[in-house]
Amino acid sequence: MTIRRRLTLSFLAILALFSLNLAIYFWSNLRRQATVESLRRAISAQVLIASINQNVNDLNKQVSLLSQVATDAAGGAAPAGADPAELSVFNGQIDAVSSQISELSELAEGAARTKVESFAKTYLDLGRSWKLFYSNFGVNQSKAITELAIRAEPLSGKVLREFLPELQRDEKSRVDAASANFYKVARLTDRITILIFALSSVFATAVAYSVSRYLTRGLRRLKEGAEAIGSGNLDQRIALPAKDELGDLAQGFDAMAANLSAARAELTLAHEQEKRKSEELSLTLDQLRRTQDQLIVQQKLASLGALTAGIAHEIKNPLNFVTNFAEILVDMLGDLRQDLGRAAEGVSDLLADLEQNAAKIREHGKRADSIVLGMLMHSRGQSGARQTINLNLLLAEYVKLAYHGMRAQDASFNVTIEEDYDSSIGPISAIPHDLSRVFLNVANNAFYAVHQKKLRAGDAFSPTLSVRTRNLGRSAEIRIRDNGDGIPEEIRQKVFEAFFTTKPAGQGTGLGLSMSYDIVVQEHRGEIRIESEPGRFAEFIITLPKGAGFE
């Protein structure tokens, strides 16, 4: 039921009660009026009877005493007849009582009326008799007296001693009954009025209470629901079962909450998508940056390559001369030893030394030549020949070479070298010439780092280099670790840039790691990365794919 209908019904119910009250009021009034009317009639009748009684009595007395009085007036003689005026007054008095009786008859009801009617008849006879008496009085005295004695007196006795007292009694009881009824009706109607009023009040209060209770309950639930929704709890539902405006409102609220909740879910989804997109974007940006960095490095390398090519070219000719002449010198020294024979032992030793030195010059010349060749190749972007190699052997060889190179500079320098080679790696496909340069440089850097630390820290520090390999199945891993000062986070990426160096001027070019990166990443499709804890260690980790057919 809608609130409007509920309120209308309540209003109508109260209106009905109000009308009932009004009806009861009018009904009471009618009832009271009826009783008042009957009371009035009874009282009127009573008064009338009293008056009739009085009048009849008067007439009777008049008649009774008339002959005496008239005789006295006549001084004992027979009185003269009544004059017409007196007669008509007398008759008028009688008729007046007659009309009073007919009036009484109108007031009487039921059995009382028949009584009154028989009374009226008797009185009519009485009146007639009295009239007869009076008209004969003084004219025919005997007739008058006879009439009086025989007819009028019994009749008047009957009227005064039977009819009128009886009627008076009747009317008195009627008045009593009417007044009792009047009070009874008054009490009854009062009671009914009060009862109906009380019932109306109770009903109206009940209706008002139930309606207001219903409304406040519904509104409270709506308010609570709205507050819950307002405070962000979009799963809150009001779910008022009522099929009215409150129910509609609650449904509206619920629908709103549902819509809000859906909208929020959509928003969250959109937000997440946005976030993912932006993450992707930033990833892409990172990649782009790295690519850009690489491009820059490559550009630098390219220009360096051109430079290196020029330098290498210029150095190669004199190196050729050195190598060629050293070779010639070795040959000539051989010839000279044959020519000299085994004559002079001392010369022979000297020659042997010369021979050895020349051979060394030749060897190193060749090596320098191959380096220059490598530089040329590197600058031209060409790689050396790919071969099947034993990784562990190559690594060990160049670590040792680097160590000796270090010792050559400072003979007092000592490093503990821990080696742990995984023999399960097996052969891998690589360009050994280039890879050796990588190992040499990384090892050199490590020795340099520990040497620097040793110089600073002294005996308390024992330099250690750890070299390990590991078989990763499709690839092999090389770890070269030193316990030097490590590489601070902020320069960890820069070390792979060409010309980045922290060494004093004239000592380092800053090309070592740049070149190593190219060799590992670009030539061998491997990876090179750094793990370091500044002040404690630096570890270079190189992963190389074993190449097709070696896995």
Partner: protein, 154 residues
């Protein structure tokens, strides 16, 4: 108060009572009245209006002669023991107090008395004992008729 004074009868018709002593007053009623003898006190009650019925249905109608008649004076003296004025007063107040339905009827002659006694059942009147109309019954008082010794209305 003086003793009874005898009044003369108003002479009319032939006398029936042969031995009526002159001066006595007879109480006459209709012959069919169911009473023959009354005590004097009963007579008084009858005439003072204290007794209004002979029997349940038969009313007493008093017939009294107008003033100046001898019978009236005699009755006033012997029965009522009142003067004329007292008598009048007595009846007026009796009627007004409604102790009596009607007062005594005044008659003006013996003939009228006779006529009315004949006409009205229950009528009672006084006549001179020597002039009692024919056909009327004379009541005894204390067992005595008028003219007999000890009759009170003498």
């Amino acid at each position: 108060m003086g003793r009874l004074t005898l009044f003369l009868f108003f002479a009319v018709a032939a006398l029936t009572s042969a031995v009526a002593s002159a001066g006595d007053v007879a109480i006459v009623v209709r012959a069919d009245l169911p009473a023959d003898n009354l005590s004097f006190s009963e007579v008084r009650k009858l005439f003072t209006g204290d007794r209004q019925f002979w029997s349940s249905n038969l009313r007493v109608t008093l017939l009294i002669r107008a003033p100046a008649a001898r019978e009236r004076d005699m009755v006033l003296k012997t029965i009522y023991q009142m003067t004329e004025a007292q008598f009048r007063q007595y009846w007026i107040s009796k009627v007004f107090r409604q102790e009596a339905a009607s007062g005594p009827k005044i008659v003006y002659s013996n003939e009228m008395t006779a006529e009315l006694v004949f006409a009205i059942p229950g009528a009672v009147a006084f006549v001179d004992a020597s002039q009692v109309p024919k056909g009327l019954k004379v009541l005894k008082i204390d067992g005595r008729l008028p003219g007999e010794k000890g009759y009170p209305l003498h």
